[in-house]
Symmetry: C2
Subunit: 364 residues, 2 copies
């Protein structure tokens, strides 16, 4: 009887200590402001850390462009830690979610950890409200890890704190990528419809190539206005990729492309400039009006490119769009916006073409 | 002056007639109840057309399983039309959307049209409320087209009407697939995180193989209860695929797998039964607890399969999971649920393995 009692006592103590341990360990997270750590993906510092551009410098940009540049797509917090758990507290706006993307992509977080020399998916921060707290990764070993936490792609990140176990180390990870390449473009550059923020094609290109890509995706509004030309050309970058052809009308492409490229060229006499045709809209195989518009967009882009070439401009390149989404017509969420399948295929196609061009300029 | 006036008059008349034509043509859609047309993906008729199973017959199923079987994943309306536009009016419930899927997938519609002998993506119905009206495809030529409209995957479809141009023809398209194969499984069969309903892996398998797959995905709850065994074995199918290992605990897998498979075998003495290991969780490369649980799930599934084999059961097969999601760890939305990239890879891996097994039984 005594033995039984003592056994029961041991079990109870064990159960309690497990509960207590779990409770205490769940409590013991220390949160630090993420802006203390290296922020990947910025063209330059901005007064508000998670805005991509300080648009106050470009007052004549359309208001919608300014608003979209507050979205934190393409940005990632870089840090090192030996914590076995990584959590986050963050706030976004109450913007209504779009129906062609997950909330995780639009308002959530996406963690990659370097493993065997490669960046590898580790966990997401799932949003449920305007302000959120979520444990992104847990039950890890306590080796020191290099981490990149990709930020929400279709919302403005108002604040972010990163949590690690009390007593663990957390330090900034300096820029893990080489050179600087701007991608100015449409919603497709911006990230619709990646399933999480690490899966936009500029972020995939970074991981694939080791190069630093600056995401200037401006959903629906990459229309090559003069103010946008000034903004893009002001960036101290080694190369420029223009994947904006999906947004302007064929007439706007005809009118604006040469001015846009010449403006970049003036400030960057030797930088390679790569113009990318718009991907084919997958519903355009049935919608003859859409099909015709895309055809005309690409014809005008190609014609403008050829006029610049004929006028003697050097170091400009055109990437055509035929194979960017594969050939099964299944790589988009809504006909226009690539799913992860589409972005994977785009990155597979674009990476060798872009790196082959850039390597001529020792950008590698 | 007269000439100028008359020219202005002509332009005005032309402009007005364009506006009028667009207005009238936008109005001239005729809507028909979709339940008048062939409904692909059903195991048997049900009192409520877009429920997958009449769960009143299986009263001892857990309530959550019954609720999930009201979701219309795997179902598609099949019809032919020469209309140049296809629209829909539909209602779902006010269920809060999950954060790892698009609203288009959860509550929207996905249209495929046969082109050059293959089913090809044509357009989506984007939801914005509980009841919606949306033009899914427009500006098409007026040839007769075979259409499949895939239904919402994570909601209950309360009503659906399909709209075509007034004066166009619309008729039912009889079952375009061969044989019947049940897939009983987890959220991954159910469809999380496809970007639209046509991109679940059972729907991809249908298009890839021409075979008829019945989706019995029961998100988070494919736990092989006795009632579920009875429900699955009641279906008059030619083959059974069990991709349910992600949901039960290792202990439940040990206890339930043999009973589940034997129950199917009793009613279907010769039907091939294919057990699929759970895919590896991508966050499990860091979360050691998740990693261990998945390992144990697959060990128990394999052990149960081997016990059945050793006891002499014929016509059972095991598909292992190593390569189902590729090897870059980028094929899920949240570590657990494949994105379109993951489902594409799963379908690419599973289709040849499944068809190779089924062809031995003349199921092709």
């Amino acid at each position: 009887m005594n033995k039984k009692k003592s056994k029961a006592g041991i079990y109870l103590a064990l159960a309690l200590s497990i509960v207590l341990f779990q409770h205490v360990s769940a409590q013991k997270m220390v949160f630090q402001d993420a802006s203390n750590f290296y922020l990947y993906g910025k063209a330059a510092n901005t007064p508000t850390p998670y805005h991509r551009v300080d648009t106050a410098k470009y007052n004549d940009l359309p208001p919608v462009v300014k608003q979209l540049l507050t979205n934190s797509t393409g940005l990632a917090i870089c840090f090192k830690t030996n914590s076995t758990s990584i959590a986050a507290k963050w706030c976004v706006t109450d913007k209504k979610p779009a129906n062609n993307m997950t909330l995780i992509a639009q308002k959530g977080l996406d963690l990659y950890i370097k493993k065997d020399g490669k960046w590898q998916y580790a966990g997401v921060g799932k949003p449920s409200a305007t302000c959120n707290e979520f444990t992104i990764a847990k039950n890890m070993d306590n080796s020191e890890k290099e981490c990149m936490l990709f930020l929400p792609i279709y919302d403005e990140l108002k604040s972010l704190e990163i949590g690690t176990n009390e007593g663990s180390k957390m330090t900034s990870l300096e820029n893990p990528f080489r050179k600087k390449i701007v991608i100015y473009g449409s919603s497709i550059v911006h990230g619709a419809s990646a399933s999480r923020s690490g899966m936009t094609y500029p972020n995939m290109l970074s991981r694939k190539t080791g190069l630093y890509f600056i995401n200037l995706g401006i959903s629906g509004n990459a229309k090559m206005e003069k103010a946008a030309a000034r903004m893009v050309s002001d960036i101290q970058a080694d190369a420029f990729v223009l994947d904006c052809i999906p947004n302007p009308s064929p007439e706007q492409i005809k009118e604006r492309t040469e001015y846009f490229i010449k403006t970049i060229r003036e400030k960057h006499p030797k930088a390679p400039i790569i113009l990318v045709q718009t991907i084919i809209r997958e519903h355009g195989y049935f919608d003859l009006s859409v099909q015709n518009n895309v055809k005309r967009q690409n014809e005008e882009a190609t014609a403008a490119f050829n006029r610049l070439k004929d006028a003697g401009m050097k170091d400009i390149y055109l990437i055509t769009s035929e194979k960017l989404l594969g050939d099964d017509h299944d790589a988009t969420t809504d006909g226009t916006h690539p799913s992860d399948l589409g972005f994977y295929r785009m990155a597979e196609q674009l990476a060798p073409q872009i790196t082959s061009i850039l390597s001529k300029y020792q950008i590698k």
